[in-house]
Symmetry: C2
Subunit: 303 residues, 2 copies
């Protein structure tokens, strides 16, 4: 229990910010946590829950006197929020974010920050399909990775302090440049999300199989896709629009490979299919061994 | 606890058969359960576990005097197994199966059965990513659907008896014709599996993102795909080869929709993306309300 920032301001109170609030409290990592959200309803819920020490009426109010400001809004809203808070940031404050895309956020936020404020972008790789201030929990970041993406010339001491803060919240930390981050995430997150959304949409739209059949028989594999495809639409719209190039590159590779497998099905090339399906088991083993997933069947779900 | 078949023979002792063995015992649904597997190692494990009442050395031995014979082998092996057991089946016996594809199984098995034997194909829609005689558990079928696909002219009494048997094992039951079954499964299972295999293969094969990065950062969504892509390669090879037309039809629809979403990303059409991502949430809600998945975040996984 050691305070790393005297006062932390969370801008946006969705899944990530509310989980941060719980994890900060669990770790005693901040003296005070202020939170705010654009929606009055969200602010009211946060207040009633006692989610943070203080709910501010606006982002500008929230950042006054804060030592760390974390932008927890959809990637497409980062620029506008930065405009709003910039005049109120105190000299020496650290501004960070939790956006799933880094190049676009750096381009939107960086130029709008005043001199004398440190900018250390970050991305905690953790989440669930749920959203809103009530969806957070303190363990969300435990044993997950938070990637810091410090711009050139970033203050080393402040980068390290932010890493210690995330470690206090339960995460491992790593550093990467923005382009590589965006490519890695296109593979591990953005392309899989688009693919899951697509498959669920297709199932919903077939005339020859009813929605009620899809729902009843989903346990055959499809339901894992629906979990991913239940993620927040606004957040994901912004991710795809702002990580366009890397996402389209990975989807291009995906489609190429899918066509090769479709051809193998069409021509009856069982050896190709069997070899491909055998190779993919190794990655799963690696993920379980790395502690990034459970090896309980079906993720430990029971009927 | 009421015996529905005096003697049940399970041909193959993988995930489904071993789960059936546990569930039959839990329900007291059979007087005796005989099991067999092609591999001597599997038979030895089953014997040591006491998985079934009797482990037979061959499929032909296993079915002698059995009232219900369930073929629990990969879809591509059904024909050959039927050849082997046909001479040993007793008159009035019921032959069923658990294959994920029904049209091809009916074509392979039906004509090879002797007169006087009832054929009632079935498919329990339940599974995990694990395989082998040790992977089974009694609860696998609880609250899941088993689809019966009786051929024209099937004995109504025997169809109903098999339905009662699956209900005793915990499942709901339904009836469908083979073509519709294969299309429904192409949507809820076969296409999602091929897509998951493809995405995991792409991630494994990228030169610019290392496997170790994919493993570490998989929690961002990708790990759900790896679970599906860890399924048994032989079983899935056979599924795609034998449900070729329906799988390719659904994959064609999927690719069409994926291209439309890719174009929306390329042209920056956020409204299209947002509307699509909002629509897919409803299916998830339906699945949770139907008791086919948990609403705990991340399937209730904790780090």
């Amino acid at each position: 229990m050691s305070v790393i920032y005297r006062k932390v301001a969370l801008i946006g109170l969705g899944l990530i910010a509310s989980s941060m609030a719980h994890a900060i409290r669990r770790a005693g990592a901040a003296g005070t946590v202020v939170g705010t959200a654009r929606s009055a309803e969200t602010r009211a819920i946060a207040k009633e829950m006692g989610l943070v020490d203080e709910v501010a009426e606006s982002a500008a109010d929230a950042v006054a006197d804060a030592d760390l400001v974390v932008l927890c809004v959809p990637v497409g809203a980062m620029g506008a929020v930065t405009e709003e808070i910039a005049p109120m940031l105190k000299p020496g404050a650290v501004v960070s974010d939790v956006g799933s895309v880094k190049r676009a956020v750096i381009a939107d936020v960086g130029p709008r920050l005043p001199e004398g404020v440190h900018f250390v972008p970050a991305h905690p790789l953790a989440g669930t399909e749920q959203s809103g201030p009530q969806s957070g929990f303190a363990e969300l970041f435990d044993n997950r990775w938070t990637i810091l993406v410090p711009p050139e010339g970033a203050d080393r001491g402040e980068v390290d302090r932010l890493a210690r803060f995330w470690q206090a919240l339960g995460a491992y930390t790593d550093e990467m440049d923005a382009d590589h981050h965006d490519l890695v995430l296109a593979v591990t997150s953005h392309a899989p999300h688009l693919i899951a959304y697509t498959m669920v949409g297709v199932a919903d739209d077939l005339r020859r199989v009813t929605d009620s059949e899809v729902v009843k028989y989903s346990a055959a594999g499809f339901r894992d896709f629906t979990r991913i495809a239940a993620s927040d639409p606004t957040m994901w719209r912004d991710v795809f629009l702002t990580n366009r190039d890397a996402t389209l590159e990975i989807l291009g590779r995906f489609t190429e490979e899918l066509f090769a497998l479709q051809r193998a099905i069409r021509t009856g090339d069982g050896d190709h299919l069997h070899a491909y399906f055998t190779r993919t088991r190794a990655i799963r083993r690696g993920i379980v061994e790395a502690g990034q997933d459970t090896d309980a069947p079906n993720f430990g779900r029971r009927p």
